[in-house]
């Protein structure tokens, strides 16, 4: 029995289970909440088991159907896949709990409750399939699964703005994935294989490969909303219901970014990518400044968080110019760490914004005046989550930025340090603005009671995001299993 459990390929189950649960919730809409919650409870354990299997018994990547790789599709258990599976499981579990309270069983919009669960479980399964996929065409299919599920979830709110945002997101997703697919076609035409490992070994620095790479990167950059291709994000992320906003900002944007990381470090390391790296870095810098400034100007909490996401995506793209030479491992780890900590922090912020909206009746920041008293818990939780976005010391965000700064010093690109620091200051400014309103000394009437699942799960998530820096050693070690960065990690951990 124990052998059966130990030898299971848990990372494959993490794709099959949510998809199966999605079918079950479609068939039995009445039981959707319980099916969804059970799956959400089970998946973090699957993630732990998958990590344990890889760490202790050196589980190998496997191919679907056990066919050799140019023929079959490889599913990978490297560090990147494992940490993303784990973070998704954690964030997904919290979001599922929150959704129980957010979509109560009996309300006017009966269909919203019915359709949230199958769509969300499809999205979850699609994300997990994407993280473990080692095949470029399979990545296309998983990207489409994720993006169609996101479209549906955005549209769930049902208003005209939400529908317009959903349709715009659909077109953006289609455009991005078709550009990606054209690149895949060119690569297959040249090498007759789509396996990431095999391609990484045989790919050469030719003009055609550069064209394929540019197409694929352009498509993914559009999907991950890097400045100036971010125009669709604020609408899409704010029009959706709160749990959906959290999912989109925390997970969906990262999905495209994970594919980008795999392409950059595993498929195209042989190509001369200096110029594209600098271009992406430059756009990342502009995104940091622009996103933060826009966040500072917003009147609504959710829009503020969405623009903050744009700024944080900018940080993620600093990996590409910084990951060179001896700074390679540092920058790569910084990117992965930022992705994880941003997933936790941003999910907590969006969930809290949903709760604040629920209690204060509006998410206009000015309506928060004096809210610090009655809904102090929510505001404090929001602040805790924001600490990692700003990058305050014990948080994971701090260590990610620390690693970036180290990498910038090691590669002599000091201007990135200036951008990172000013981004931090701006982030502190826009968070402080929210707090300033919340703790104004204004007497407010009573607020409605909110269910506990909408209060405490986000708190847990923000605390995790906040102390992530203290426990960062373990996730970083896991992430480095089979990592594409061969250079040993040079920077010191710890303050």
């Amino acid at each position: 029995m124990t052998e059966l459990i130990v030898q299971q390929n848990w990372f494959v189950w993490m794709t099959l289970l949510p998809l199966g649960a999605a079918v079950a919730t479609f068939l039995a809409p009445g039981q959707a909440r319980w099916i969804g919650l059970t799956t959400a409870l089970f998946l973090p354990f699957c993630a732990l088991a998958a990590i344990a299997a890889t760490v202790f018994s050196t589980a190998q990547p496997l191919t679907v159907g056990n066919w050799p790789t140019p023929l079959g599709i490889e599913l990978r258990t490297d560090g990147l896949a494992l940490v993303m599976l784990a973070v998704t499981a954690l964030v997904g579990f919290i979001i599922s709990c929150y959704a129980l309270g957010y979509f109560p069983p009996r309300q006017h919009h009966l269909s919203r409750t019915h359709y949230f669960w199958p769509l969300w479980l499809f999205l979850w399964g699609g994300c997990n399939a994407l993280f473990v996929s080692g095949d470029l065409f399979n990545l296309y299919v998983t990207l489409e699964l994720v993006s169609l599920a996101s479209v549906a979830l955005i549209a769930l709110e049902g208003g005209k703005a939400a529908l317009a945002a959903a349709l715009r997101y659909l077109f953006i997703g289609l455009l991005g994935s078709l550009a990606y697919l054209l690149g895949v076609g060119i690569l297959y035409a040249t090498y007759a294989t789509l396996d990431i490992t095999l391609l990484g070994e045989i790919i050469s620095d030719s003009r055609l490969n550069h064209a394929a790479m540019s197409l694929m990167i352009a498509g993914l950059v559009l999907k991950s909303a890097l400045f100036p291709l971010h125009f669709w994000l604020p609408q899409a992320h704010t029009m959706a219901p709160a749990p959906v906003s959290a999912v989109l900002s925390a997970l969906v944007v990262k999905a495209a970014y994970v594919v980008l990381l795999r392409l950059w470090f595993e498929v195209f390391p042989a190509l001369d990518t200096l110029a594209i790296g600098h271009l992406l870095g430059l756009l990342g810098c502009v995104a940091i400044i622009w996103g933060s400034l826009m966040a500072l100007r917003q009147e609504r909490l959710k829009l503020l968080i969405a623009y903050s996401t744009i700024a944080q995506i900018g940080y993620l793209f600093l990996v590409f110019p910084l990951a060179r030479g001896e700074a390679m491992a540092g920058a790569w780890v910084g990117g992965v760490l930022l992705m994880m900590t941003h997933a936790c922090g941003k999910a907590a912020m969006f969930l809290m914004a949903g709760t604040i909206h629920h209690t204060a009746g509006s998410d206009r920041i000015s309506r928060l005046a004096g809210a610090g008293g009655p809904i102090g818990v929510q505001v404090v939780v929001f602040t805790l989550a924001a600490a990692t976005i700003i990058g305050l010391p014990p948080s994971g965000g701090f260590f990610a930025k620390w690693l970036f700064i180290n990498a910038a010093l090691a590669t002599g690109q000091w201007w990135y340090i200036a951008i990172i620091l000013s981004g931090t200051l701006l982030a502190a400014a826009y968070i402080a603005r929210v707090l300033g309103w919340a703790f104004l000394d204004v007497k407010r009437s009573s607020y409605p009671v909110i269910p506990w699942v909408m209060k405490w799960p986000p708190l847990a998530l923000s605390v995790i995001a906040l102390v992530f820096g203290l426990i960062a050693y373990a996730p970083v070690q896991i992430a480095l299993i089979g990592a594409p960065v061969s250079v040993p990690l040079l920077v010191e951990f710890g303050p």
């Binding site: 299919v141 489409e144 317009a164 054209l182 035409a189 007759a192």
Partner: protein
């Protein structure tokens, strides 16, 4: 000038035509058509590349991938049409021009 490069080149032209129209056209149905043309262009590149090699024996892998791709793009088309109809019902518009401020609250 041979058959394969003729078809692959045409595929890329179709892709560009669709891309262009997807970006500049405003009517939703026209955007949907444009995305479909784009997809057909990509599929044509795939199939043309699969048709190389010894005469008559086409590579089944690109064909299988294109079949998958056709299904996926059909799904997107169907969803996009229903979304467009729904938007039209709510706003009376057939375009996506909802600016940020008016959509709030």
């Amino acid at each position: 000038m041979n058959t394969v490069s003729l078809y692959a080149g045409s595929g890329i032209i179709l892709f560009s035509l669709g891309l262009h129209a997807l970006l500049i056209r405003r009517h939703l149905l026209r955007k949907i058509l444009a995305a479909n043309i784009m997809g057909s262009g990509v599929f044509m590149v795939f199939i043309a590349m699969g048709a190389r090699g010894e005469s008559g024996v086409a590579d089944p892998v690109p064909q299988a991938m294109v079949l998958t791709g056709i299904v996926v793009s059909l799904c997107f088309t169907a969803v996009a049409i229903v979304l467009a109809v729904r938007i039209n019902k709510l706003t009376g518009c057939t375009t996506l021009a909802v600016d940020e401020e008016s959509s709030i609250d």
